[in-house]
Amino acid sequence: MQKITLLETKGICKSFGPTHALTNVDITIRRGDILGLIGENGSGKSTFSAIVAGALSPDSGTMQLRGEPYKPSTMVHAQSLNVSMVVQEMGTLPRITVSENIFVGNLHRFKKNGFLDIRKMNSEAAAILKEIGAEDIQPEVFIDQLNFEDRKIVELARAMYNKPDLLIIDETTTALAQKGRTLLYRIIEKMNSENKAVLFISHDLDELMEVCNAVTVLRDGFVIDTLEKDQMSIGKMRSLMVGRELQGNYYRADYDGSYEDEVVLEVNQVTSGPVLENFSMKLHKGEILGIGGLANSGMHELGRVIFGIDKPITGEVILSKNKTRVKNPLTAIRNKMGYVSKDRDKEALIINATIRENIVLSSLRKLQSLLLITAGREKAVTEQQIESMSIKCSSDTQLCRELSGGNKQKVVFAKWLAAQSEILILDCPTRGIDVGVKANMYALMNDLKNSGRSIVMISEELPELIGMSDRIMILKDGALTGEFTRSENLSEHMLIEYMI
């Protein structure tokens, strides 16, 4: 039987600065579809779902819903057109009740003589919760009293309130235990039986095989293929997700994964954050150690612990040279360590300060003479870095917020190079920067390695890990699941098996 088209997107493009998140994305969702949307981190899945759900606007392209032009201005607008989404991050509002969370933005529906009919609101919330099989959640309790899973279920209730024709589920199952997953699958089945549609985003390929009747694969913002149920296999999905070759000298050309025997840093039995547990590793002089995994694998927490930002719950981070324990960033910096945060604008740069102020920030002790730091010394150090890093700027007094993403990242690197850091912790060092700057960054990392510096490179991009690392450690659920040495034969398929 021919399925009826519910939503059709044509030529959807979306860029964030120099990064093309989506390029000419054509996707058709039909009634009765449970369409899986898969791809590596950064492939554009969440951007696409956010555009369909009204949280983002496309730069170009058109959408049609039920044959009519569809251009949602907000998520509420999309909801009113029967398109709802459960977001990847926590989407509930603290310090208000469950029913207020379900109806937030729609409270006017319960207005009676100017006042809220709270009894009616609670009773309708109870009915929705019952309908989705979560009657154990009380509508009048404060959301803060619920655990993480139940809060996600409240979001699901909010999404189901408008009886959506299209429900978008963006990597929600990772936050759900058995109870939540069962409930979610029941909703998906119901949507399917009512001839509605679900766009299901997940990294769990087994789950996608079980739940979806078709999958669309995105890679680097392009639609690669759509597989119908009878064409779907885990092997094929993986192959489509990662099918990409390393090109020319974009990454390191050599396959010599050697480094010195000298250990410069040891991580011993570290537990931190929600998932990282009993993790140990050693970093050698002149080594690029790649750390890979999914976003919630604990790898980002590892970077923060190594640099002393987060205090480990168990274990310790030791600098081998002088047996110093890294307790905080100050100890790390004084022992020539540097950290490039994943969140560049919030954690790595003072964006409202000048390039010079940012670059000299970690070197102030070195620039000091008789308790004074002269502007001349600051300028000399900054200009040297601007030249060697080819930072495109009007002057060293230009504000960092005025720079492009790639040049901002160059300033971050310059800060640690000016401080003569010998150990660098790089968390997603090429996130959100264009190909040209990426190539510069990779060349710089290679130079640093060759000059005996040691690098821990945390990355969500598998080609980057394979292309640059001497050794790769893969984390899943906070534990080491695989370790690989640099080799010509190393493929993304091999790594992804240990990640998912």
Binding site: G105, L116, N278
Partner: protein, 330 residues
């Protein structure tokens, strides 16, 4: 039974702070503080700062500071008081005119906030200086009203005014879409905007709503004092000090009681603390230091109350991780 015990426990936790302050000063002042007549006076004196506190509660819940509130009270009292005298409209005229002036000024503040998009602290300090100049320009000598117009400051009228205004605030804050939207916006502005709330409109309405209470605060202030002179530059800040401190206490108490009740308990506690220190014969300097320390301790407890739970959770996590590590290496 469990529900009753829970309510009882929460009520006790809500009133424990004023009870401690009351008992402490009753003992330390050797009976000079805490007599029924004295407590009635403190209750009366608390009404004006409670009005100011209720006026800025919504703004502070959303995360906006309002340092212009005191200047609005002064301007409404002096300009509005003179207009009421000129028109001979008596107490009803006084109430209406003062509220209208305060609402107008707060509407201007809200509109400018949305227009300029500068931090509320910067905008309201600037506007405080502007508003403080208005009574000086129009009525240099201030305002002096007759005894007949001061009845609202006397019991039982002052308590009736308090009850009416408190009920209005309580109902609006807890039983209208506006109140719920304020709380949602205060929880997380990004998510609230994503689910369809309009932050600019809610913030503007919050200023307008606050204006009603500032107008009433001006009525109570003028009725109590009978005469008000224009403030010196930034002199109006002292008027909002007790109110802001009261709201900080209310934020601390809101896990045990409704925020509106917390505002009343908090502001009354601050007023009691001030009176208690006066009754001990302490100098202004010592009183200021004690008040500051009191608030500092309270905020420290409030800010760090999650630390103990976090420490306990981490301890348990460490135990489990160590157990797993030992098993794996056995």
């Amino acid at each position: 039974m469990a529900k009753f015990m829970n309510t009882l426990l929460r009520t006790l936790k809500t009133i424990i702070l004023p009870i401690i302050v009351y008992l402490a000063f009753s003992i330390l002042s050797k009976g000079r503080f805490g007599q029924p007549a004295g407590m009635l006076t403190i209750a009366r004196q608390s009404i004006m700062p409670i009005m100011v506190a209720l006026a800025i509660t919504c703004n502070m819940t959303i995360g906006m500071w309002d340092f212009s509130a005191g200047a609005v009270v002064y301007t409404a009292a002096i300009v509005g008081g003179n207009l009421a005298l000129m028109t001979g409209t008596g107490i009803p005229g006084l109430i209406v005119i003062l509220i209208l002036i305060a609402v107008t000024l707060n509407t201007i503040t809200g509109l400018l906030y949305n227009l300029f998009k500068v931090p509320s602290i910067v905008l309201t300090i600037g506007l405080m200086m502007v508003y403080e100049m208005i009574p000086t320009l129009l009525f240099k000598g201030g305002v002096l009203i007759s005894g007949k117009m001061t009845h609202l400051a006397l019991p039982p009228y002052c308590f009736i005014v308090f009850a009416v205004m408190f009920i209005i605030f309580y109902v609006v804050f807890n039983y209208t879409p506006f109140g719920h939207n304020v709380r949602a916006l205060g929880s997380n502005q990004a998510i609230a905007a994503n689910v369809g709330l309009n932050p600019a409109t809610i913030k503007l309405v919050s200023f307008i709503f606050g204006g009603v209470f500032l107008g009433m605060a001006a009525v109570m202030d003028l009725s109590t004092k009978g005469m008000i002179r224009p403030p010196a530059t930034m002199g109006s800040v002292s008027m909002i000090f007790d109110a802001m401190m009261g709201i900080f206490i209310a934020f601390f108490l809101q896990k045990y009681c409704n925020l509106a009740i917390g505002v009343v308990v908090g502001t009354f506690t601050m007023k009691m603390l001030n009176s208690g220190l006066v009754s001990m014969g302490l100098s202004t300097t010592v009183r200021d230091i004690t008040t500051g320390l009191f608030l500092l301790i309270l905020l420290c407890i409030s800010a760090n109350q999650g630390k103990f739970t976090e420490w306990r959770n981490n301890k348990e996590k460490a135990r489990l991780a160590n157990e797993k590590f030992t098993q794996a290496n056995a």
